[in-house]
Symmetry: D2
Subunit: 489 residues, 4 copies
C-alpha cells in the first residue's frame, strides 16, 4: 500500500530504497495474534513505522494499531490479550516522510452489510485515485489516505452476493502491485496481482494455514513452507480447508527483482530462490564483470555483506569487516535532533582503521540511490588510510522511480539518472566504480539473460520499463483529492 | 451524538444524567482553532471524555482529536499550530462507559467527491442504525460506531449537486435530536432538528460568525450573542455572509426542559431564558409546593445551588454551605482504583458539621437518578448531626430514559420508575421528600402550565412522552451490526 | 517545605497566595497507602503540583512520587499495589513557578545507619540554607533543592542513639514553620514548630493513628478527630501507642491567621474553629465595618463565597451567584498555550449578566494580591451591566511576603504595599473598596482584638511582624548554593 | 558502577556477559551535550537501559537522565537545549534485572560545600558497602542504590581543601574497578583504578579534551585519539589544559581480557590493540588449537563474526552467513510478553537452510555462559539440515563470576563451572566442542603466554583469580542495607 499524500518520489532518510510493507495472517490457531506478532517481527525489515493486527474471535473483530516497532508496541500482554481469537492478520509499514498517523496504519477494517472485513496490503495500486474518484462520485467516504481503502470500497459496493465473488470483482478492478491478506468472519483470503510483483507465501503450522510476505516469517515460528502463491492467484482459507482461484487473465510473471537485491531478508526464499545465495552469486558476477587488483573486500554493512562474500570468494581476496555498523542507530532516524542529523553517516558506520590503513579496498554495496551515502562512506574509508578505494555495486544503476510499493526518490534525484558511471565515480570520489550489468543480474537469479521482449522480472527501477499502466500518474486528471486532509489523528 | 455500542441505558459513574456533547464553530477569524478551544472549554460541562477540532486553511483541512479535557489536550502550542486556518469547528464529548477510543471522537471528517466535510453533532439520532443498514447494503463503509457517521454518508450519497441541497437531503432523513455544526471548504453550516431538542446559538465576534451549544461559549471570548437558531433552521455561513433555510416541515418546538434543570451552565441563556434565573425560580416553586419547617437550606453542590438559593429566598430561611465539594475530584472518576471507588461519596462531598449539627436541614438537589448518591449524602448529613433532613428535588421524578443524546440509566434503574415518593423517602432515609411538579417546572420556565396535548418542551424523562419515533429501539430488527468491532485504536 | 530555587517572592499564576503543602500519615491499618491517597486528595487544595507517598511493609520501604493531581496519579491499582504495608505517609505540594521536578517531591527518604526515614513537611524553614552550608562543610551531600532535606541531614548526623533523641536534636536546630510527619521502620512521628504556624491534627481510624494537615482529611475516610497537635509538640506513634513530647522552649502560639482567610478548606476545623464559620463571621464583620447601599452581594467564587454569605446575612441583602466559575479550568494553568493565556480571566469566571445588569453589586473576595485579577473581574462585572461595583475584601490589606511556606509575590508587587486604599479603589476601578481591619479579623476568629505586644497569630502578611528570625534572608551571606543545579530529572 | 540490589550474579536475558557502563566527557566545546550524546550513542553497546548527561554552563549545572536508548531519549531538541554549556559528561548503563529506576541513572550529582560535582562510573567497587556503612554511621545520607554514590560521599567528607586533593583522597579508599569521569564547575577529571581493569581513553576535538570508554566514541565525532589513560592515572582538565597525576601505589596492569573477547566494539582500539584484529587472531588460534574437517565456517552473529572470519582464513574454509540475525530484536527483550519469551531464540536468529543443508558446519561463538542459547542455536542448525555441527568458542571456558562491573550469572549457573568439555558438548549436542586455551587467548593479545605468577590481564572469569580483595562479598557482614528501599521513583 502507499499513501496518497506521499508522492512515490518521496525519499527515506538513509539513501536506500525501502519496501513499504509486510503482511502476515494465520487461520485456526490458539493465540493467533501472538503468532502474527512474531511473523511481523520477522518481517520488520519491510516496514518500521507502524503495525496493526486484526483478530476475529468467532463473534467479534478486534483491532490494535500502533506506531513503532513490533517489539516495542505489540509485546505487552494487555495488547495481545485484547486480540483474542484463532484467526488474525497483520501488517507492518515503512516510515513514510509525511507520517500520516494512525489513520493509515493497516489492516484497514470495514463493517459491510454482511459483516466485517479487514485487509492488509503490500504493494501499491497505480489506479487507486482514479477508482477512488469514481467511487466518491457515487457517495463513498474515504477516511484514510491509503490506496488500500479503495479495495475495501470495491468489495463493499460489489453487487455480488458472496464474499469470494465480491472480492474477485474488487481485485479485478485494481492495477499495480498488490499482495493482499484479508480476514472476514468466516475466511482468510490471500491474493497476488496477476504479475506477482510483490511476494506472498503460503505456510502451515500444525494444520493452521499461514500467509506471509516472506519465508523468514514462517521460520521464526517453526512453520512449514508450502509454496509461493502464484501470480494472479487468490486463495481462500476456511475451517474446511483452502481453495485456490485465478480471477485474472493469465499473464507472465514480473516479480520485483529488487527484492533479491535488497528488500527481502537473506534467509528468505522467494520465488524458489534463497536470497543470500542469489546475493552471493550477484557478488560473484560482479567480480567477474568488474575485476580489480586489490588487497581486501569490505562490505558496506549490512546490505552489502552477502555480495561482498560472493565477490571475495570469486576474486580470491580476503573478506574483512572494514566498516563496523552501530546496530543501535535505527531508531535515531525517527526523531533526530538537528545537531545530530548533521553529523551524518558516522552515527551508523565507522571505518575500522586497523583493517583499512594502507590497503587497496574493494567496497561492495547493494545499490546507489542519491550517492550521498556512498560519498560519505568513501570519504570515511579514505580518512582511515585506504590507499585505493574501488566501489562495486551489486545491481545495475537505479535510474527510474518505483510505483509498486517502494519508497524511492524522484527520478531527478537518482544519481544514475543524471550521470554516467565515470561521472558517478568522480562524484563519490573512488578510484574505480563498477555496477553489475542487467544481464549479470538476470544470470545471478538463474536466467540465461534478460528477455527484452518479455522481461522475466519487473526491473523498472533499472530499465524504466513498467509492466503496468500508471493511470494515476498520467495526464491532466492527476489530482490528489485526499491531500485536502493534511494531517491529523 | 451517541455510540451504537452504548445502549442509551448505560450509566455514568456519578448518578446524574449527562449531556453528551457540546459543539462550537467559527468562520472567518485569525486563530480560529484557538478560539474554538476556548469555546469548547466553556462547554466542557457538556462532555469531558474527549474533544476534537477540524480547521480549514484555504486549501487543506486539519484535524486533532484527543482523549481528555480541553485544558489538558488542546493547550499545547504545537496542537494549535497544526490547526491552521480562519475556519474551525469543534466538539467535546461525554465519557461513555465503553470508551470506544479515538474512532468516535468528533468532528468526523469525510472526503467526498466534491471536497471534504467535517461534522460535529450534539444529540442522538433515533433512526441511525436503520439508515445505516440501508446504506451498508448499497456498499457504504462505516468506520466508527457513532450515529453521526450516518449523516456523512447521507450527504455523500445524495444525488444533489450543491452542498446545501445535499446537506438538506441528508438531514431530512434523520430522526431524533441533532444540533449540527459542519465545515466544508467554502461553508460553515449549522442545523437544529425540527423540534429543536438540543440548543444551538448564533454569535458574532467582530464580524466572524459563531455557532455554539450555549451562550457561555460566546461570553468566554467576548463574542456577541445574536440569537438562538430556530428549531428546524439551517444556517449557511460563507465569506459573503449568512443565509437561513428551513428544510423541514414546520413543527412546534420541543426543547429539552432538562437543559434548564441540570445540563446547561447557569450563566448561559438558552431559548431566551437565563439558566440561573430559571433554577432560582424552580427553587422558589419548589418551596411553594413543598414547604417545610426548618433551620437552614443546604444545596447539594454544585448543581443544587441555584435552586437552593431560590428556595431559601422564597422560604426566608438561611442559605448555608453545609456540604463542601472537593473540586479536584473530577478526574478521579475516569480511572479510579477499586479501593477508592468503594469509599464512595466523600471523595466529592463533605458535610460541614459545624453548620449542620443540631439543625433541621433542607437539602436541595437537582434530581434523583438511581438514588444511591442521595442515600449517601443524606447519611453523611445525618452523621454530621442533623436533627432532621428534608430533601427537596428541583425537578419532577425522572421515570424514563432519554434517547436524545443524554446518558441515562435504563428505566428499571431509575428510582422513580419503581417507587412511590413515600418509598423513595424511605429508601434515601429522609424525614420528608418533595419533588417539583411538572406544572411547577413549566411555570418556572415561564409557561402558565404544561399543554398536555402539545407539550411545549421535551419532558420525556419525566413523562415518558417521546416527541419522535424511536425507530432503532423498536421491533425485532434491533440489531447492532457495528458491535462486531469490539474494540480498537 | 519550600524550594531554595524559588524565592519566597515568586508568584502563582492566579493572583492568590498559595499554601505550599499538605501532609498525611497513618500507622497500623491495612491498605495504608490507599488511605493516604484519600487523605491527600482531601488536602489537594494545599498543593496541586505533585505528591508522594512512602509506605513501610515491615521489612522494606516503598516510595511513589508523581507530578500531577492525586486523582490522576495515585488512582492506578499498580501504583497502590507497589505501596504495600500498614504504615504510610504522604505529601502534596503546590505548583511552584520553576517546576523543579521529581527531586523535590516529598516525602524525602534517606537510608541512615540505623534504617530508613521518610519526612513530609508543611511550612518553610528560615534557616535551612544556613544550616545546610554548615552541613556541607562537614561533607553532607544535598540532592534536592528542598529545605526539608536539611531535616534529614540533621537527623542523620545527630550523635544521639535512638531515633526520638535524634529527631529531637534535629528539630531543635530548625527555625521557621514546620509541621512534620516522619516514618521510620518502627515509628510515625509528628511535630509542629514551637509557634505552631502551620496546622497539624491527630485523628483515629478504628485504632490506627492519623496525622493530617486538616480535619477534612479525617472526614473523607470517616476517621475521628482527636485533637490539634499543640505548638511545639512532638508525637511518636508505635505499635504500643502514642507518646507526646515537647522538645522546645515553650512559646506563645502564633498560628497563621491566613489559614482561616483562604488556605484551609471551609469544612475543616483548625485550632478549634470551623473555617466556614470564621469566614462567615469575617463577612459579617466586613459588612459592619464597611456598609454599602446595594442590591445584591456577589462572591468572587469560590474563595469569597462564605464571606459573601456572611456579608449578605449581616447586611440583609440578597446573595446571588453573579459570577459563575468554570470548574474545569484548574489544569489549564499548568500548560497554557500563549494564545489562551492572553484571553485572561474569562477562562475561569463568567459574569451572569441577567443577575447583574442594572444592579448595585457588592463583590466579596478574600484578598487582593497584585490586583490584576480584581481589575479584570470588576471590568467583567461592569461589562455585564452593573450600575455600581463595591468591592469588599475579607481580610486586611496584604502588605508583606510570607516566609513560612506560602507562595507570595515579592513585596513590591503586592498592591497594598504601594498604594493607599483610595488608590487601590481607583486602580481596580470600583465605586468603593473596603477591607476588613486587623482588629475585625481578630474578632472574627474569636479574640476581643489583637494583642499588639504579643499577637495571638502570625499575621505577618498584613503587619510585617514576623514571629521568628529570617536568618536565610538577612545579611551578605544570603547565597543560594543549590541554585547551581538549575534543572533536571 | 553496579547496583547494590543487584547481586553480581544476576543474569541478563540473553545468555551473554554484559558490560555495565560506558562513560564520556568533553571540556571546552560548543554544544558539549550534543557531542556527549553522540559519544554515548557510540558506546551504546556498553549499556542500553538508561543514560544521563550533566552539563555546566559557567554558572549552573544541568542534568537529564532518561530510561531508554540514547537515540530515543536524547535526540529531542528540547532535551539538548536544556543541557547548555561547553562542558558535559555522560553515562550509559546496562539493563539490570531489578530496574531500579531513575535514582540509579548516572552521572550522579551532588552539591558540596564548595560547589557541584557530577560523577560517571564504569566498573564496580568491591568495598562500596563496607565504606558506605562507615559513612552512614557518621551521618551520610544515601539516596541511590549505586556504589558510585559512595565516591561522592568520600569526596564530600574529605578534609582536604582543593578538589584535586579531595578527589585523590576519595579514590584512594576505593577497591575494585573504576574508570571515572567527573565534572565540577572548573574541572573535568578522569581516573582509572590502579589495575586499569576498565578502559578509559583520552581524545581531542579541535582543542577540546575528551574522555571516553572506547575509541569508537572518538571516531563518531571525528575526534583524535590521544592515548589510553594509564592504570592508576588521574587526569584533570581545566581551561588551562590537562594535568596528569598518579594517586595510587604503582601496580602492574590487569586490564579485563574479556573486553577483547566480547565487550568492546570491534572498531575500537583498547590498550593499543584493535579489537577486531585481536578477535581475528583469536579465531586463528582457535583454528590451530581445535582443527576440524568441515565444509563451512558459520559465525553466531554478531559477536562470533570476527573470530569466525579469522578461523575460516586460518583453516582455509569458506566463511558463510549460515545464521541470520534479526536486528530489530533488541528492544523486544526489554518488555517481552510471556507468549513471545517462550518462543526463544528464533526471535533473534534464523538458520539459513540453503547454506547449511547437508553441510559439516563449524559454528564460532565468543563464549558459553549458561549454554541454553548454544543449545538452541545448535538445534536450529541441525533442524536446517546440517550433517555435522562443530562448535568452536573464541575464549576459554567461563568458570567464575565477575565483580568488576560485568553482569554475570552466579557461578553455579555457568555451564563450564559444573561440566567438563565433553559433558558440555553432550549438553549442547554438538559433534565436537573446542574452546580457546587461556594461553591461546594470551597469544592472541600479543603475549607469549600467561604469566601465572603475575597475570598480565584480569582473567578472573576464566581462572577465578581475582586481582583485588572482594571485601563486600566476604564474611558475615555482607548485609545490603540499601535493600530497605525496595522500589520507587
Amino acid at each position: 500500500m502507499a499513501d496518497a499524500d506521499d508522492t512515490p518520489f518521496s525519499s527515506g532518510a538513509d539513501d536506500r530504497f525501502h519496501d513499504e510493507c509486510g503482511v502476515f495472517g494465520i487461520f485456526g490457531r490458539q493465540d493467533a495474534a501472538a503468532i502474527v506478532t512474531l511473523g511481523l517481527h520477522a518481517l520488520q525489515h519491510r516496514g518500521q513505522e507502524a503495525a496493526g493486527i486484526v483478530s476475529y474471535d468467532g463473534s467479534q473483530f478486534h483491532v490494535e494499531r500502533h506506531v513503532g516497532l513490533i517489539g516495542d508496541t505489540f509485546t505487552k500482554q494487555s495488547v495481545i490479550d485484547r486480540l483474542s481469537g484463532t484467526r488474525a492478520i497483520g501488517h507492518t509499514r515503512y516510515a513514510t516522510t509525511g507520517g500520516a498517523g494512525l489513520r493509515n496504519v493497516q489492516p484497514l477494517f470495514a463493517e459491510l452489510a454482511d459483516g466485517g472485513i479487514a485487509v492488509a496490503h503490500n504493494g501499491n495500486l497505480t489506479n487507486a485515485m482514479t477508482v477512488q474518484r469514481t467511487l466518491q462520485k457515487l457517495g463513498a467516504i474515504f477516511t484514510s489516505t491509503s490506496d488500500t481503502e479503495t479495495i475495501l470500497h470495491l468489495v463493499a459496493t460489489s453487487k455480488e452476493k458472496d464474499i469470494n465473488s465480491r472480492f474477485t470483482e474488487a481485485v479485478r478492478q485494481l492495477e499495480g502491485a498488490f499482495s493482499l491478506v484479508a480476514l472476514t468472519a468466516k475466511k482468510m483470503i490471500g491474493c497476488r496481482d496477476p504479475l506477482g510483483i510483490r511476494p506472498l507465501v503460503l505456510g502451515d503450522l500444525d494444520g493452521a494455514w499461514i500467509l506471509a510476505s516472506e519465508t523468514c516469517a514462517l521460520d521464526i515460528i517453526g512453520a512449514r513452507f508450502v509454496r509461493d502463491l502464484k501470480p494472479g492467484e487468490m486463495v481462500v482459507v476456511t475451517t474446511k480447508g483452502i481453495e485456490s482461484f485465478f480471477p485474472f487473465e493469465p499473464q507472465k510473471s514480473r516479480f520485483c527483482i529488487f527484492e533479491y537485491v535488497y528488500f527481502a531478508r537473506p534467509d528468505s526464499s522467494v520465488e524458489g530462490l534463497n536470497v543470500y545465495d542469489v546475493r552471493k552469486r550477484i557478488g560473484a558476477e560482479l567480480a567477474i564483470e568488474n575485476p580489480v587488483d586489490a588487497d581486501i573486500v569490505v562490505p558496506v554493512p549490512d546490505s552489502g555483506t552477502p555480495a561482498a562474500i560472493g565477490f571475495a570468494q570469486q576474486a580470491n581476496l580476503p573478506f574483512e569487516l572494514g566498516i563496523i555498523r552501530n546496530h543501535y542507530v535505527g531508531r535515531t532516524f525517527i526523531q533526530p535532533g538537528d545537531s545530530i542529523r548533521h553529523m551524518g553517516v558516522k552515527l551508523k558506520h565507522n571505518a575500522n582503521r586497523k583493517m583499512i590503513e594502507g590497503k587497496r579496498v574493494v567496497l561492495v554495496d547493494d545499490s546507489i540511490v542519491r550517492g550521498t551515502t556512498s560519498q560519505k562512506i568513501v570519504q570515511m574509508v579514505r580518512d582511515a588510510g585506504a590507499k585505493e578505494v574501488h566501489m562495486r555495486i551489486a545491481s545495475p544503476p537505479t535510474r527510474a522511480s518505483c510505483f509498486y510499493g517502494v519508497d524511492t526518490p524522484e527520478k531527478s534525484k537518482l544519481l544514475a539518472s543524471r550521470m554516467s558511471i565515470a561521472e558517478m565515480a568522480d562524484f563519490i570520489r573512488v578510484d574505480s566504480l563498477g555496477f553489475l550489468s542487467i544481464e549479470g543480474l538476470y544470470r545471478a537469479v538463474g536466467e540465461t539473460g534478460r528477455n527484452s521482449d518479455q522481461p522475466q522480472f519487473c526491473d523498472a527501477c533499472f530499465t524504466g520499463e513498467y509492466p503496468t499502466r500508471l493511470l494515476d500518474f498520467e495526464g491532466a486528471d492527476n489530482v490528489r483529492t485526499l491531500s485536502l486532509l493534511a494531517s491529523g489523528t
